[in-house]
Symmetry: D2
Amino acid sequence: MIRVLVWNEYIHEKDPNNASSTVYPHGIHNAIAGFLGKEEDIEVTTATLDDENCGITDEVLKNTDVIIWWGHCGHDRVPDVVAQKVHEAVLNGMGAVFLHSAHKSKPFMRLMGTSCSLIWRESGDTERVWVSKPSHPIAAGIDTCFELEADETYGEPFGIPNPDDIVFMGWYSGGEVFRSGVTFTRDNGRIFYFQPGHETFPTFYDPNVQRVILNAVRWAKPDVRTENVMDCPNPPSRNK
Amino acid sequence: MIRVLVWNEYIHEKDPNNASSTVYPHGIHNAIAGFLGKEEDIEVTTATLDDENCGITDEVLKNTDVIIWWGHCGHDRVPDVVAQKVHEAVLNGMGAVFLHSAHKSKPFMRLMGTSCSLIWRESGDTERVWVSKPSHPIAAGIDTCFELEADETYGEPFGIPNPDDIVFMGWYSGGEVFRSGVTFTRDNGRIFYFQPGHETFPTFYDPNVQRVILNAVRWAKPDVRTENVMDCPNPPSRNK
Amino acid sequence: MIRVLVWNEYIHEKDPNNASSTVYPHGIHNAIAGFLGKEEDIEVTTATLDDENCGITDEVLKNTDVIIWWGHCGHDRVPDVVAQKVHEAVLNGMGAVFLHSAHKSKPFMRLMGTSCSLIWRESGDTERVWVSKPSHPIAAGIDTCFELEADETYGEPFGIPNPDDIVFMGWYSGGEVFRSGVTFTRDNGRIFYFQPGHETFPTFYDPNVQRVILNAVRWAKPDVRTENVMDCPNPPSRNK
Amino acid sequence: MIRVLVWNEYIHEKDPNNASSTVYPHGIHNAIAGFLGKEEDIEVTTATLDDENCGITDEVLKNTDVIIWWGHCGHDRVPDVVAQKVHEAVLNGMGAVFLHSAHKSKPFMRLMGTSCSLIWRESGDTERVWVSKPSHPIAAGIDTCFELEADETYGEPFGIPNPDDIVFMGWYSGGEVFRSGVTFTRDNGRIFYFQPGHETFPTFYDPNVQRVILNAVRWAKPDVRTENVMDCPNPPSRNK
């Protein structure tokens, strides 16, 4: 059983003047938890900024195999201590899937160590997501490419360290390209960033997007989970 | 002209009970500045924990092409705001060379995003530093391998992201191995970590070590230096 | 069920004057097939230079999930057409595990595209194999490090492309270091190279070595297996 | 002085029925040699399939710092022995720049070890080439992106090993994306692949394309040039 925690800042969707309130009336987190929860090997919980400590404690993280993170205008409202807990849990082995505007979230930026900057435009461009690494488990079941009729445009340069693998690359009708699905390993933790998913578009109802997120969860599940990755052991010499 | 800032916490060497006070009577920073300053293409300054704001201001960083960092027991005495300034300067293009125990310094850890952990032992092991990438500019002028009669032992696993290149690998008489010289690119900045250099050994007087540090400074010099790498531009569509 | 083909040139072991004839009386391939064949999820066959076409046909490769390759003095006796078949099968998804002196085998060299050179010495050095990436599936069940009392020494620089991951690093009592366990992905195929295994030492009876090879087989098993990876499709435009 | 050899199969341009005969009346090689030859630090020669041994001998390669390669329908007419000479020269340090359809040339395929496959379409799409790594020396002087009104379309997946750096990414009006400018290191040699340059379009007269090729030549110039990279030395132990 893979224990997944879907974290969402949950701000836009509560604002009746924001289109996302209609698209995701119960929040993006519940849309994601909805399709993941149908899988027999997955157990889902959710947490948001509204929860005490963002719903993230040492106990919660210890019982989470993979965290999914969506954030946008509320990045700064996540306390540093919470970001640090998530960061260290990933280094100890917890898998992490960062979606869309989570590229500037505190946990992702701490894990990358870079600007995580990009160019962007809200012009309802069509996005075509191409599979650039067909043999990667995260691309399983995805055809050569798939289309999202409209989503926010992200463009290169994307200020990330060179990823382990580029699973997806995005094409936008407005003229940009983007490394849309990229993987990283940091200490014991596996990390996947996936570009689609602006709050005002029904991206998380798209079957291909759902399949990618499901694949990513299964891929990011830890093989090794430690508690002390930050320590530096001081062993004696092994030679006589 | 490459403008180099050698930063050293400068704690051990001021303690008359610490062997380093004899080995580096004017501090590790001045030992390094000493040999770098002889080069015609290099202009060196130094700074330490004793300076106001660690001697690091926006103005200082703006006028630094490459920073060299040595720290050990004083990592926590570097304020977060100083670590952040150094971090962002590197992302904007400033080169950075981290030496020995700087693997757990705040700027290096922020750049890596990992534990930066390793195993260690102060047993005066002999280290043999092997060149594993002979064509890398940082290995220029270095033979197949060179020896340091005694230094602190560092051993794998080293909790860093997979580096761009492994220029040197270390062998220790006590039985450990280590990725002793590794390069990274983070946004516009080039980073080199080099393992040798415990404060109680005359490592920084070794001609091979000096040559490596000199090579690294020339390699890390920025091609591009920006001021706004953290920004996300919002351009219009380029298509009609 | 993972279908494994253990390929061995099988030359040294048939020479009664060679120590390997005593260590591996039935050949290295049968020693490896012996321990792999005990696993419930693995089905093993073997092939050698003595078989027609080296025992490698399109049909055989089609029914092989992972190939294991040991070769040394007989590299040149493998026909180019056989090497090419193995090469393309890997690109189409077949996993491949190359052992010890297979670093200069034709299939490995074709997959790497580099010199695959290294320094070596037959002096019976003790080797200590360190885990440098503890969370990698190939390191599962392996402690911090393990020792081989005597094996051939290999040393850096190792002329390979930068690997995806360095799972193991080797320390030798004679003074060398080596990237002893490295992974690569080439098109759809996963590749693992593992350094230990000189023919005159009982390396393949070592429980740690056996565990590593078993882990590697399970890791290298294809997710995707194609037949046409060499083709370049010519699709129409997806835009109106 | 950087000694550059521009190699071109030179087939299409000699066919009066092929549009390229008008676009490149003296061949693509002379168009490239033309703009490179104006640089004070570069000395250019050319060679084609029409020359004896393709104009490539040990002597020629020894005196070449960087080779530029354009080929398409004549890949198979390059003898294996010539491809091998080029391959080994690169491993010994010679820089190499492969242009457009050279992705399926023998020297490039030998260096990569992969399928080098891609999807393609000759539909005169507009290509927009984005800089994805602005600090890379090959991107020097290139703006955020540049456009080629029409060129052949190449699309992902591109069957190459993960490159060291992705300097450029291509967007096509027909809907594809491509890693258009990628770097590799193989032993001592630096390699750059650049996607634009179909024979029927005036791509090699474009100032941005010319600047990229010039930058690539300067970047690929060897730091180290050996003659024996294929050898495996057998040194004595360095320990007593």
